[in-house]
Amino acid sequence: MTEAAPLEAAEQLVAGKKLHPLGLLVGCVKGLPGLIFPILALTFGTRSASGDYNFILILLAVLLISLGFRWVSWLRFSYYLGPDDIRIESGWIDRNARSIPYDRIQDIGIEEEPLARILGLATVRFDTGGGSGDDDASLSYVTAQEAQALRETIRERKSGSADPAGATAEDAPQLDNAAPLFAMDNRRLLTFGLYSFSLIIVAILGGAAQQLDFLLPFDLWDVKAWIGLVEDRGVSIETFDLSARITVGVVAIIGLLILGVASGILATYLREYGFRLDRTPKGFRRRRGLLTKTDIAMPVGQIQAAIISTGPLRKRGGWHGLKFVSLAQESDKETDFVAAPFASMEEIAVILSETTIKQAGEGLDFERSPVGPWLDRWIVIAALVAVAIAGLWFALNIFAWWLLSIPAGLAAVLRFQWQRDMHAIDAEQLYARHGWWREQLDLARQINVQSVTISQGPIGRMRGLARLEFGLAGGYLAFRHLPIEQAKLISDTVMELVTPVDFSQLNVRP
């Protein structure tokens, strides 16, 4: 006990800063959807004898309790900016004192959700780049000014005396007036939205209708009632002839298409509004979002690989997307840094020229994968289909000729896939192209390779083919099908280049 006393005294000397109290409200509201089930359960459970539902009371009570818990946690949460690290202390029963050295912080991401923004608050995320799923620290919520100030302070303290000019130049206000490296205006967003046709909203509405139809006053699924409604208006079922049914069908499809287009555009706008990618002295800075604004930095030295992707329709329109692979994780869903989600190849070339990664040159010799693996897949599926047809014929005397469409269609798909699967290697970089629907080109510098694995399954073994996978910090690049001897050769070549260079000489972490 006596040893703890001087330590506690030292801790008390440095007063930590608290999070903004208004953040409690934001957190409360944000957490409300998660509490919907308890609220509903309590509402139904505490029905009074006369059948009244105390919904409002229950809602308020639950809100107050949630607020109470959050307030208690808030009391015990504080952060402190030390000379070498940032300290975050939290918890009553489970005391947690975390120290994050500035060296390990790649950068600060600032996120502004809609409700938080209205109140002038923001969430600060510390990117420690520990790989996917790492429990990175974050401060929610501090004032927007505090967030910016924190970012500046940490940048200053990171570079220390080595590069004070660089630190402040990083987010100097005059850089905001400089032209962005890449930006998406509203017209681009609209085009992007059109290409992002999504029927997910239909699935959601359908699912919601199915689950919550008990809340509606009528039965959604009673077809006879729908017909009854129609008959009331003087239209009887006999008059529903073929042309009418076709019209209804066409209207329904058009309705779905409109809904898909609208939801695609809406989702795109919400996510990418005001997209701009700026070049900063150390790397890139990307801002986007309408409801939830994010502001993330990506130092050039930490880019391990680039991924250029496109889709069947986008390719026709000349639209591609550019992502960077690194240790920094953007969010729970997206592990790669999105540099330009919807751009022309010229725009992508401009962005790439600011990194150490070179575009695939014209004279690059791409080698196609052998047909073998795709042929094998087709044979397996075709065999299964043959068995199914034979089974149906002998068991039920049906000749399911329509099943033959499966191998036929599959042949076309597999051929596309095989055509697009190729790889290349030059003096410094690795290139892998793959995918038939979502086409993708991975580019990485050999020096960034962390490990190499050659693997072979039983079928690959029969054919003498293997998979060559290069581990990168934050992802990987793979040559999916190549002769095993060639795989060994390439692996040796890359390892010759990589082994002499120690990790500390790479710029994986600042």
């Binding site: 996917s132 240790l327 962390q450 050659i454 072979q456 581990g471 990987y476 120690d502």
Partner: protein, 154 residues
């Protein structure tokens, strides 16, 4: 270079594998026994093949896997080769190793063996494990890698 000879694992790894498989097999046999008791299928149709398969696996597989496992730590890299049906050959340069663990499970401890785990900065393959080493050998290997990294750190 991928032509260097590979060092095999310690032969005591075979019983370690066998015991782990036995424990896992026990669970499967228990599951099969439950299905037997519930009489879903005719008596013996489930439990006999399952027991036969387990016996085959537990008797033959560990030795076979042991024969197909090897490593090499020359030329400043750690190379681990394993498997036959599912073959893999992984190379990690020492200069890319972040930190090294030497772990011992309870069964390994009984036989004096350990597993060396090497961590890189990558996501994929960010941990590469080499089991079946004598505990002292694993510690020596760790020190050797550490010394190499120390001398080459810029």
């Amino acid at each position: 270079m991928s032509t260097e000879p590979l060092t095999p694992l310690d032969p005591a790894y075979v019983p370690v594998l066998r015991i782990s498989l036995l424990m896992f097999g026990g669970l499967i046999a228990a599951g099969a026994a439950v299905i037997e008791v519930l009489r879903f299928l005719p008596m013996g149709l489930v439990i006999l093949p399952v027991l036969a398969a387990l016996a085959y696996i537990i008797w033959f597989v560990p030795a076979r896997r042991y024969r197909r496992w090897g490593y090499d730590n020359s030329n400043g890299r750690l190379r681990i080769v394993q498997g036959y049906l599912f073959y893999s050959d992984t190379i990690v340069p020492f200069g890319r190793i972040q930190h090294i663990d030497v772990d011992q499970g309870p069964i390994e401890r009984q036989y004096g063996l350990a597993t060396l785990s090497v961590h890189t900065a990558g996501n994929h393959n960010d941990t590469v494990s080499l089991p079946g080493l004598r505990h002292t050998d694993a510690l020596e290997l760790r020190e050797m890698i550490r010394a190499h990294i120390q001398s080459h750190r810029g």
